[in-house]
Every structure is written in structure tokens, then in C-alpha cells.
């Protein structure tokens, strides 16, 4: 494995113009991803995890104000979306084109990015459909998306994302609309594909259990701030930020069926102004003290591991 990172985010901040004041979606994110590494970004609604993914995919709307950098050192140039970076979205019902056959949608990627002829692209589409586990791909390649089940549609969306052989596969909540059995199959499929292709994976989810299935490293986002990052095994066994701890505690309470262990995070996210100066998690944190409300904890660590919490500083 090359030690030159595939992806390097440095002081990355994203704001969206809005009234009465701009919305700060991401605030000073420091993160790197090595080639063939699998990083899972864990965050809830409003954490900025999708903004981060869209930034990396080059899909942020023009009005977004971006500061800091998002570079691809191992690539040595700006990535071509769809070729160097593949993207799998949460909802295959909306990400697939309803009027084109699945073969055409997979083939289009190869015609566009790999200069394939349409007849070669159709053959390659059959191979890709087989690879993502669609039975009888020769017979199904000309079917439109609505002839497939929800799980199969997500497999097809994955086939499109990997068709051009990207170095980085991005996945935004790829399993959240799916039932438990299909969810595990799709995660295992993604895992197998990035291993085979030697690609890196950046997967976004709100569910730590999903992260634990596939991640080498986990990064936890809260309200646009990276609060903790590190090896998956360490984050899951010894989380250091109170927010990561709460997520782990909830996941374990659900596994153990223990209702008493659920109440670990306060209900109200609080008013944004209250958290503007201090730690963004302070209004919901069970361990917050005076300093947390007035001083934002600095990131202590590097782009591979670290934590932002006054309690975690010596």
C-alpha cells in the first residue's frame, strides 16, 4: 500500500448562503484516506456527512462557499467524477433512470469514460451485473430498473459506480432503505468489490453497526465538526468523545435489549447560537462543564486519528 494518501482534506469548511445567516455545514475537517482503505463517516442528520461526500464527489452546488483544501495526492490531478470517483446513493429508486435499461445505464459509463463501443459496453454490463450478484444477467441486461427489487436496484447502482474502475468509491447511506438481510448482503458486496479492485471506500452512515461491518477507520461528525477519528476497532471498543461513546452505548443497548442503557444523549440539540462559541455537542453532552460552552475544543491528533473534546485533553 502506498503511503501517499488518495484523499487529503485539510481545514475543509463549507458554508451555504442563507437568511438570516449562512449555514455552516462543515467546519475545519482534517481527514485522509489511503488507497484501498475503508473509512466510514458516522453522523446524524445535519452532521455535514453528505456535504462532505458531495464535496469529494465534486457535486457541491456553486453557491457553496468552500475554504480549506480537498486534494487527491495519489492521483496527482483533479479526479474525473464517474471515472476516478464512483458514487452510490441511498435511494436506488431515484438514482437510476426509469426509462433506460440497466444495461444502457452501466454501458453509458464505459462509453463515456473508457471509450468503449456500445456493443462492447453491453457485454461489459452483463459481466458487471453478474459481479454484483444479479441472477441471469444476459436475460436481465435490457430490463428497466422497475423490473428489479429494491436490493437488486442498489446492486445495479453499485455496478454503475464501479463500472469505470474508480480509485475511490463513495457511498451515501447505501443500505438505509433496505431490510436487514439485504443490508448485510449489500455491505458485503461493497466490501468485496473494493478489495478486488484495490479501491478505497468512503461510506457515510448514521449507524455504527453498519460501520463496524466494513470500516478500517471510523470518523465521527457532529454538527459539521469532526469530533473523533481513529481505527474502527478502537472507536467501537474505547470511544473517547462523549458523542461517540453515546452512539456506541446505544448500539450496545439495542443488541442487549436494555432499555435502561438507552438514555445517554439529551433530547434537545439546543439553539445553534448557544453552541456557536463552544463545543457543538455541549448542549446535549452529559459531561459538559463551563469551558465547553465558551471555548470550542481544538482537534487533538492528525488526519488519521484524533479527538476534539476538552475532557480528552490532558
Amino acid at each position: 500500500m502506498s503511503l501517499v494518501p488518495l484523499l487529503e482534506l485539510s481545514g475543509l469548511s463549507v458554508r451555504f448562503p442563507a437568511e438570516p445567516r449562512p449555514v455552516r455545514a462543515l467546519d475545519g475537517v482534517e481527514l485522509e484516506l489511503l488507497p484501498s482503505e475503508r473509512l466510514v463517516l458516522v453522523g446524524e442528520s445535519g452532521s455535514g456527512k453528505s456535504t462532505l461526500l458531495w464535496k469529494i464527489a465534486g457535486l457541491l452546488p456553486e453557491e457553496a462557499e468552500v475554504t480549506g483544501s480537498c486534494r487527491f495526492p495519489a492521483l496527482g490531478r483533479a479526479p474525473v467524477p464517474g471515472r476516478d470517483v464512483g458514487l452510490v446513493l441511498q435511494d436506488p429508486f431515484t438514482s437510476l433512470n426509469p426509462v433506460l435499461s440497466v444495461g444502457e445505464q452501466i454501458g453509458e459509463v464505459l462509453v463515456t469514460h473508457r471509450s468503449a463501443s456500445w456493443s462492447a459496453a453491453r457485454q461489459a454490463a452483463v459481466v458487471l451485473l453478474r459481479r454484483v450478484g444479479i441472477p441471469e444477467p444476459e436475460r436481465r441486461v435490457d430490463d428497466p430498473p422497475h423490473r428489479f427489487s429494491g436490493g437488486q436496484r442498489q446492486r445495479i447502482a453499485i455496478a454503475i459506480a464501479i463500472a469505470a474502475g474508480p480509485r475511490l468509491l463513495l457511498a451515501d447511506e447505501p443500505t438505509s432503505g433496505l431490510d436487514t438481510v439485504v443490508q448485510a448482503q449489500i455491505l458485503d458486496l461493497l466490501d468485496g468489490l473494493v478489495r478486488e479492485q484495490g479501491a478505497a471506500l468512503l461510506l457515510v452512515t448514521h449507524d455504527l453497526a453498519v460501520a463496524s461491518r466494513i470500516a478500517d477507520r471510523i470518523a465521527v461528525l457532529y454538527a459539521g465538526t469532526l469530533v473523533e477519528c481513529g481505527p474502527a476497532v478502537r472507536i467501537l471498543s474505547d470511544p473517547r468523545h462523549p458523542y461517540s461513546s453515546a452512539l456506541v452505548a446505544i448500539a450496545r443497548a439495542l443488541e442487549a435489549g436494555r432499555i435502561d442503557a438507552l438514555a445517554t444523549v439529551r433530547a434537545s440539540p439546543g439553539e445553534p447560537e448557544a453552541a456557536a462559541r463552544g463545543c457543538p455537542f455541549a448542549p446535549r453532552c452529559a459531561f459538559a462543564f463551563a469551558r465547553c460552552r465558551v471555548e470550542r475544543p481544538a482537534w487533538s491528533g492528525d488526519r488519521r486519528a484524533g479527538v476534539a473534546c476538552h475532557l480528552a485533553v490532558p
Partner: protein
Amino acid sequence: MTGASSLLEVADLTKRWPGAGAPAVDAVSFAIGAGERVALVGASGSGKTTLARLVLRLLEPDRGTIRFSGRDFLALRGEALRRTRAELQLVFQDPLAALDPRRRIGAQLADPLRAHGLVPRAERPAAVGALLARVGLDPALAGRFPHELSGGQRQRVAIARALASRPRLLVLDEPVAQLDVSVKAQILALLDRLHREEKLAWLWITHDLGSARIASERILVMDAGRIVEEGPTAEVLARPRAAATRALLAAELRLPPSDRVDQPLTAPSVSPRTM
């Protein structure tokens, strides 16, 4: 769980969609006692949502009987049906689909109070405030519209609306599936409190064994339209017999085992040097 103590008693319930080969719900029988929490689990397409719609009489069965509070639910008409419906309420997965986007929360919570003749007009604002407080919301939210609320707040409103007609049984269809993990934990805790305080019984439909563990004493496992396994939740999930139960357990995503499972959450005490 049959006999005099049953709140809901379903027998031989069957529904076949026109043109379909096998029935979507195939000769299903089960009972729920007063105050009992039952989970109905199964993969997509196992028939659990069709079964829920039959139980609520949103769909007429081809065959079978439903008794609710000792009455023949399928034979009820008019006023008797309306009164029974008040005692049997539904909470959807997506609260946005259950709430009217153009009307204020307060007006929507007042609907069931008026429709079931439960609260005189003059007392309705106070009753709406009390409902919001019961689900842990600020009564001032009565003046807001659904889109001004977060997903968790909306699900609390949907629960408040279901509680307004003083039900004895809730049918909850994946009530926490779309929620963030920390919000999911809060809604699970809220429903647990309501169950304890109000002796509320429920049928909790889910494919997520985590919420089934928390939210039920008894579990029904469905596969291909039939209940293939049934028993105390902890026992069934610890020693599954049916292939469908084993498949659900095998697919469940779990954190790696940890020796810290039983420790209460404590303040992190770390040094960055050990990271």
C-alpha cells in the same frame, strides 16, 4: 395468550392478492393481551405489513376472524366501529406521511379529540398542550407546521396523535426505522414510558431485531405469509428454531464483542498520547 385476557385475538386470517399464487397472509392466528408488547418481525415481502393492515381493518381479509376487546371487529359497523377504532391506533414509519403539511400541529392533535367527542371545544387547547407534554414536547409547538419540526419531533407528534383517542392497542409500523440513532433511542425510551404509565399494548412491526428486543416481551416471526416462530423475545432470539429467524439473526449487524458491555457510560478520561 388466548381467552378472556386477550385484547386482540386473530384467527385463521388469510389474504390473497388477485392474481398472486400464494396468499400474502396465510392462516395467521395470534393474540395480544392487555398491556402486552408484541413484535412482528420478518424480511421484506414476508407479509407483515399486509397483516398489520388486516388487523387495523384497512384491508378486508378473505377468511378469518379478528376479536378486539371481546367484540367481533370485522362485523362492527357505524358508531360501534368508530368507538373501537379509537382504541386501536396506528403509528407509521414516516410521520410526514401521517401529518397534514398545511395544518398546524395543534389543529391536527385536536382532530381526534373532536372526532371521538372526548374533549369539549373550550378545553381542547389545554388538552393538546397536555398531549404534547406527554410525548416530551414543548406545548408551544402546537402553533408550528410539520415541516418546522425535526424528524424526531414529528414522530413524537404522530405518537401524540395516536394517543389522543386513548387507545388500548397501538400498531406501530417501523416507527423508528427512519430516525437517527440518538433520536431512535429517545423514541424507544418514550414509548417504553408510555407502555409502563398507561398499560399500552402494541404490535410493533419491524425488520430490526434491535428495536424488537427493546420494545417487546413476545415476538412473532413471519415468513412467506405465515407465522413460523413465536415466543418470548429474549428466548426466541437466543435459541431460534425457524430458518427465517436464524436468517434475520445472521444478517443483524452487531458491534464486535466488548468487555465493556455492562459498564455504564462514563466520562472519557484519555490522553491523546495513547491514541
